[in-house]
Symmetry: D2
């Protein structure tokens, strides 16, 4: 019963097979190989963005921090939700890589900023000058850290606020697959058509071994980005093994199938939890469930094999605590059933 993290799941067999298949003979290093060319084309196709600049790398923190460093001057401010991964879990990577930029945290229920909370936060910095710095980038996490989703209209509304304030828009898409699966729209609808300038597109949590992409929809925004990726140590020498993952992941929309499976498992689990009288504390829209349970029940479930993270949340007390359950492409019906039985 592994609901600890989508990062603890393995690699989808088709992705692993692609690694094996790519391991034939020699190939030019550092992304000058044919697989990489094809993989970048495939990303452009997935995003319906034929002009986009695409860069592959191995980690989500690398992708986020480098994308934001590209978009934000050192004296700039990056607006994000107060629970965004770039704020809570990357040890200051974006601020560092961007030369000392600052995050401006925005409130909002269930991991989602709203146009109103974003606009109010921007209004805290009404002026651009050498003391005040510059409002530079909005970073939207989709799906959010709380398993909720911004639909295309929601992204567009936030992006419009950013645009009006002279900022560009980044999407932390570590779980972008799940957002696309949840909203049922195209990847393009959820990104550039909604006003997103760049996305950190995550494969690792959804069936890959170590694969992320940074995509700039306007290639002019990618100027010199190759230097940034290299000097951060994120240009793989045997680059074909990033590319092979991407090609397999995109082939036949595997990425979307896997995300749908993960979301469906979460929905099924949430339904079962509700049936057992336990209401998730946050709407279950993608592949994460947050739920408050009696602490002794959690202890018993763990003893029965449950893996899930404690997620201390306002409202918890000595008797009850919140945990996070994450499903992935690898979650089985048996695991869901076993957890519901154990309850």
């Amino acid at each position: 019963m592994n609901f600890g993290s989508d990062n603890s799941s393995g690699v989808h067999p088709r992705v692993m097979q692609a690694l094996v298949d790519a391991n034939e003979g020699a190939a030019p290093s550092y992304g000058r190989d044919d697989l990489t060319r094809r993989a970048c084309d495939a990303v452009r196709e997935m995003l319906d963005a034929p002009e986009a600049a695409v860069f592959l790398l191995g980690t989500g923190t690398g992708a986020n921090a480098l994308a934001l460093a590209q978009m934000c001057p050192p004296w700039g401010r990056i607006f994000c939700h107060r629970t965004a991964h770039i704020e809570t879990s990357e040890s200051g990577a974006p601020a560092w890589m961007a030369g000392g930029a600052q995050l401006a945290l925005v409130e909002g229920e269930a991991g989602r900023m709203t146009p109103a909370t974003l606009a109010a936060r921007i209004a805290d910095y009404p002026q651009e000058d050498e003391h005040d710095g510059r409002n530079a980038v909005l970073s939207i996490t989709n799906a959010t850290e709380w398993g909720t989703v911004h639909d295309a209209a929601g992204v567009a509304a936030l992006a419009a606020v950013a645009r009006d304030a002279g900022m560009t828009v980044h999407m932390d898409g570590a779980r972008f697959s799940n957002a696309v699966a949840a909203t049922g729209v195209s990847a393009a609808d959820l990104t550039w058509r909604a006003g997103v300038d760049a996305i950190s597109l995550g494969g690792t949590k959804n069936g890959c071994l170590a694969l992320e992409a940074v995509v700039f929809f306007d290639p002019d925004h990618a100027r010199d980005f190759s230097f940034r990726r290299m000097r951060a140590g994120h240009l793989w020498s045997k680059h074909r093994f990033l590319a092979a993952q991407m090609l397999a992941w995109l082939e036949g929309d595997l990425w979307l199938t896997l995300a749908r499976d993960a979301n469906a498992a979460a929905a099924e689990l949430a339904a079962g939890l509700r049936g057992a009288g336990f209401q998730p504390t946050v709407p279950v829209e993608a592949n994460e469930i947050f739920i408050r349970l009696p602490r002794d029940l959690v202890t018993r479930l763990r003893a029965a094999g449950l893996r899930a993270a404690d997620w201390p949340t306002a409202g918890d007390d000595g008797a009850q605590g919140t945990i996070r359950l994450v499903t992935s492409w690898a979650t089985t019906e048996d695991e869901v059933a076993a957890l519901l039985r154990a309850l």
Copy 2:
């Protein structure tokens, strides 16, 4: 009627005379001169801290950013009030100099964190690990950006919260003189005796030309700081001219006299404003007054010679707006009287 900023006031005649006097013959450069030795001793005496490490430099942003860079690892978090100068007005300097550290903003009325608001904010980051980073430094501004003051007990209470969380304590003392004058305690009582580890001690706003000091009460905390100051370009070559300011400023407690004068002018002006039916929106405890006035009145006052900054604040509307009035050592009774008359 200059109430625009204490930075727009000039240099006290005794400080200026000290510059003239110091300009005799040659002196070793880069702080190896006798005046510098004496000035650092004088700072230690003022703070009753015979072991403290003292570094002189020319700007408050330099002092704050370098002190915090020394105290905070790149993956650290600096807690400060959401209106702290290091957050609002230094263009990200501390974050940059500290290698990408992040500010964690704390709420609190009238520019003051409370132990409760601070503790609550620290609790947002309950864990130290490579993802979450480290809670490293508390920075207390005293006097605050809103002209209020933390007294010794107030500083000690905040410092205790920080200490309990494993953090060290920095004081942004750009207006430390005003805080000492307002509280009536000693400089030591308001700093190290209350748990402060380092202070950015400001002279510029209070009668100097360009003079700040960074003081580490435990000299072990100052290890390699001289490298930081140099490579940030903050080691003056003709260092005696920093030292001369400091000696004159401390001589006969000039610093305290000037701060008392500034505070007294603010108190008098506030009293007059109240008498005229205008209540400051924030307690007037040091040398700043925030007051909401009819906009047409502000226009008329400016026409009559008032210099004061607009300070847009929640509660303002089309008819009424908040302005900031700052007094300094150079504020005259005539200026105060003229403004009250003009009202």
Copy 3:
């Protein structure tokens, strides 16, 4: 006839199989899994360094830059050969990650500093103070960028010069396997027993997919390094796939076998070249050959399928140019024979 780079070779079948095998079920992420524990133990065993701190990551530039950032203060100086990879090919990564440290380039024939050239260069910076900065780290590349090798005595002699100057010693071991194979001594003899404090241990060029390790022989030197790795985006979430590579690579000394094979192929090729009347311009001690050939011959060889990099070198002219031939674990006897035949 692929002699372009050891980075263009693929992944050894046993390493690839280990990835497949590791892909069973779920595993804790971010290095908290059992495979990672075992892999780090195996590295310690390989280095006969039971106390060493071991960190796995995916790229050599990441490994070098992070190790050096850990070892060198921002105001420090890193001494390295003027053709070291950290100088020529990492786009300034170590300087950046170390907060603005500087490289001091040392001359030396065939990619090797000597104790004398190193000592002379250190003597250019005789003094440590806030202007001059600090002589902090020596970085030795072994095998060198020119396919030569420092034996254990050679490393020890350089390390002694560094130690005398108060510096610590880093080894860029992107081709460390080849150096061990060439010298016939143990990994320990070539590192900590010779005075090396930390090594960037490279697997990628020698049969792995993406695998490097940073090892600090004194675990006290690794303090907070986990923060550095994370915020540079070099902590893999599915960390078991780094660990699996390492375990397979070390199992049965596969790493050494592969390096010996690569070195042997280079030796054989060099012998053949000499037999054909072409003398390598640099001693062939590991897996690289530098050779000056008639330009039209190079053109013909390339037409016949040769992949090798142009390596413009003093002494080249319009008629003759230097190329670099790199062998790897994957180089076949057929490839060597084919190239010699084509000559």
Copy 4:
């Protein structure tokens, strides 16, 4: 007999008087005052560069590092003489402020690069890509650290090499006054007319208290520089006191008179030394003299009151050592005569 450094001299009386005069009443802070506007105009006039962007600050290291950070991307390379101040004496400031840029050191007699040595060094980095980084800036020190001077043709020749390599040109003008005085050409001839894009213009060593300017001849190159200056803590709040120095320094070409005086004192001293049988080891072209003397003679001169720095140089031995003698605007004929007498 103070020949220790031009930094150990004081402030010229006219500059000091200007500080006193500027201390009248209030003035807008942070450079929004009238004196600053006039001072920047005066700099533009001095340089015959009506469009230039001018920024005042207090230290030479600040000026150099900020100018270079503006001109050089983080992955760029700054070419400078191996004895340039930015290499030897700024503790890595430019590299740090430029986000990890690297210095590429160029050889050359007497502190001067030549077009040939520069071109040869650039040729070490023939290629721009994400590994190799970018050749970005040439920094010429004028007068050099060895008291020699690049004349206008010399600057132009170096700048042409840089321009051909796609680089821009910075001048470290800490002693620019002395170079202008020595060459007898205009400030414009020695800078933008010779191909210089930006200069760090130094006043401190030549009669000011703490005054430097960064000038970009093309104002487009200054985009966002005000943010850089602020966040490095180099925007003085009481900015009028920078401006007042500049106005007095430029008024009636005081800067040039003072530099001529300093150069003349050096020439006279050098002549006297030669007369006494001691030949300077480097041509005396500005205000510095390097001379090898018997060590016991140096000891006796110091006992007699000489202040001068030891300057260990190849060729020194146990019996003889090189010292540096620096003259300044404040050097008196008596001092020169006294030193010659003491010899």
